[in-house]
């Protein structure tokens, strides 16, 4: 027994952060159990319904999938091009606006002026109800919008690469990072110029849109289910592409060792272009899905979301596609379940606290050093 005790003490001395994390996590779990049981013991306990916990978890998974989807592209550009792309958040916004413009055009064509549709109701020129975009009433429009978000954003990403990043290909990561901040500003204010700066509603409301009730009494609405299917589908496609195609293998090879990829005869520029197409496209799709979830759109929402995307990617191990997905889910769940303990104004802080804790305990992230790409 004595040796066991001392080894625990040694471990705690060596890694006090781990001890702190374990204690805090244990305390939160005990508190959660007390809350669910409706037991109040001074500062801990209280009451939280199983329904609320369930819906928090479900919301966290849905947001997490969107963040993870956006994180894939960020992680890919980091591992293959070796820089943190700060324009990624604005690619998310760009995908949302262009995708919803197309979805509106299909859903509301004839009822609402085309200009109001393509600008996603700039200056409140029609109500969301007039357009009537909803997965149940206009599923075709929603799906075509998703495809359009992917395609247009991937083209935008390739254009940004040709204009800014390609001429700087052999510069260091910091120079590229700063260039990407410039690109981010350009995209953001072009969006504001084209689509206006108002926050406005996008999706229509449809009765009976709460489709299912899960075992925990969780209400699942049709848009959340759409996001689940679309995001998981895109992630599975991404996995298949990375693991089972020549291009995907070349991407992993370039992420592993760029110099060797060159010597091996892998055409680097073509792989880089494919990286922008896929990473940018996924960013655009995730922005489109984020708007489907929130129901509103604003020109800088992607930029604001970028911090959470970075948190997810860093948590998962920057450079790893699978880490980005898992990191997104962790950040999403922390983001929503933290409101059990703290005011919802602080839930972003909780997400970043988890990221910082991860950096302290495992600086390489969850999947860092395990497998690139």
């Amino acid at each position: 027994m004595g040796t066991t005790d001392s080894s625990i003490v040694d471990a705690a001395r060596a890694r006090p952060g781990l001890l702190f994390a374990v204690l805090l996590g244990g305390l939160l779990l005990v508190d959660l159990a007390a809350k669910l049981g409706g037991v109040g013991l001074g500062p801990i306990g209280g009451s939280v319904s199983v329904d609320r916990l369930g819906s928090n978890l479900w919301n966290g998974v849905v947001i997490g999938l969107v963040i993870g989807l956006a994180g894939i592209g960020l992680s890919m550009t980091y591992s293959i091009l070796s820089f943190a792309n700060f324009s990624h958040g604005d690619l998310v916004s760009a995908g949302a606006f262009t995708g919803w413009g197309v979805a509106f055009l299909i859903a509301g064509f004839g009822d609402v002026p085309v200009r109001a549709l393509l600008t996603v109701r700039d200056a409140g020129s029609a109500s969301p109800g007039d357009v009537g975009a909803h997965i149940l009433s206009t599923p075709g429009a929603i799906l075509v919008g998703l495809v359009a978000a992917f395609v247009v954003t991937s083209l935008l990403a390739v254009a940004l690469d040709r204009a800014f990043y390609k001429p700087m290909r052999d510069r260091d990561g910091i120079s590229l990072l700063i260039a990407s901040i410039g690109a981010a500003l350009i995209v953001r204010y072009l969006l504001q110029f084209g689509y206006g700066s108002d926050r406005r509603g996008v999706t229509a409301s449809v009765e009976q849109s709460n489709l299912a009730f899960g075992p925990l009494g969780v209400s699942v609405n049709a848009h959340e289910l759409t996001i689940l299917v679309a995001a998981v589908g895109l992630m599975v496609a991404m996995h298949a592409m990375l693991q089972h195609t020549k291009l995907g293998t070349a991407m992993r090879a370039m992420a592993d060792n760029k110099d060797l990829a060159l010597i091996t005869g892998i055409p680097a520029e073509r792989v880089v272009t494919a990286t922008w197409i896929i990473g940018g496209g996924l960013a655009g799709a995730s922005g489109y899905l984020y708007v489907l979830l929130r129901g509103t759109i604003q020109f800088d929402f992607g930029w604001l979301l970028l911090l959470l995307i970075f948190a997810a990617v860093i948590l998962g191990g920057i450079g790893s596609v699978y880490g980005a997905i898992v990191g997104g889910l962790v950040i999403g769940v922390v983001f929503t379940t933290s409101t059990i303990w703290i005011p919802s104004d602080f839930n972003q802080a909780a997400a970043f606290a988890v990221m910082i804790l991860m950096l302290l305990l495992r600086p390489e992230g969850l999947f860092g050093g395990v497998s690139t790409a």
Binding site: K246, T249, A250, R252, A253, A255, D256, N257, D259, L260, A261, L262, I263, T264, G265, I266, P267, S371, T372, A373
Partner: protein, 294 residues
């Protein structure tokens, strides 16, 4: 690493024929396996005296023909007026002290340095200035010294990447490589990063052989290998050469490399010093003293 057994050359004369060093030990190497004389200046080693040649160009046909090559990195010139030939199916090794530019020669052939002058011809076509991707298409494979596998890819995927420029994965060639390195067949689905140093070296060679190149460039193939694996690695290189692939190799283990190769080049300070049959270089007193540690 070769600095230990290759001190700064002191007072070696440019011309091997003027060698006046006492030839007391030169006889001991005269029983080295005689290879077919390829070099014009290939004096047979004799008991009395051995002189390494300095005629760097090959008389007959060479698949790789380097003439007056100047190259380096950015503004820094490393090689000056290097002359080097590799004949079809020949096994050529480059030795010399650290910083002599041995690896730079290889990297320059493969288009990885700044070309500053002179020519590199492969099978009659100039290849200096081409990108590595094009040079691979010409029929040259390159195994760099360090980090020469993709650690996150499986063994099979590493090999497949070696044939990226082909439309189809050449299954027959993968089988040929598995036959050559049977352990790789067993480890086919394993990530290359989990393999031992010797196995990684096999993956790296296998990858470079995927397009069945006419010339294989090997940069320090024995570096980092456990001593008992070094001989095995040299045997494998012999067999690759025996099956018809010309080999140009830089090797820290200079004695063993010269013993195995057809011809050797001694490079010093980015330029040619001696060129002769491997056994002649091994037997030459100056070469032994200045580059092979006595």
């Amino acid at each position: 690493m070769s600095a230990d057994d290759a001190p700064e050359p002191a007072g070696t004369t440019e011309s091997g024929s003027e060698s006046d060093a006492p030839a007391t030990e030169s006889g001991s190497e005269s029983d080295a396996p005689a290879t077919e004389p390829v070099s014009e200046s290939g004096d047979s080693p004799t008991d009395a005296e051995v002189s390494a040649g300095t005629d760097h160009a090959l008389g007959g046909d060479a698949i790789l023909r380097i003439r007056d090559l100047d190259a380096g990195y950015g503004d820094l010139q490393i090689l000056s007026d290097v002359v080097l030939d590799v004949a079809d199916e020949e096994y050529v090794t480059i030795v010399g002290p650290n910083g002599a530019g041995k690896s730079t020669v290889m990297k320059t052939v493969f288009g990885l340095t700044t070309h500053m002058g002179g020519t590199v011809e492969f099978e009659g076509e100039p290849i200096h200035g081409l990108a590595p991707e094009q040079i691979i298409r010409e029929g040259i494979g390159f195994v760099p010294q360090n980090d020469n596998v993709f650690p996150g890819l499986s063994v099979r995927e590493n090999l497949e990447m070696g044939a990226y420029i082909l439309d189809e994965v050449p299954e027959a060639q993968i089988e040929t490589i598995y036959d050559r390195f049977p352990i790789l067949r067993e480890r086919s689905e394993q990530k290359a990063g989990t393999l031992s140093g010797g196995q990684r070296q096999m993956v790296a060679m296998g990858r470079a052989l995927m397009l069945d190149p006419d010339l294989l460039l090997l940069d320090e193939p024995s570096a980092g290998l456990a001593p008992d694996l070094v001989d095995d690695m040299f045997d494998r290189i012999d067999r690759i050469n025996d099956s018809g692939t010309a080999v140009l190799m830089v090797e820290q283990n200079a004695k063993e490399a010269l013993r195995r190769c057809d011809r050797g080049y001694v490079l010093v300070n980015g330029g040619n010093r001696y060129t002769d049959r491997g056994d002649v270089l091994l037997a030459d007193e100056d070469v032994r003293r200045d580059f092979l540690g006595g």
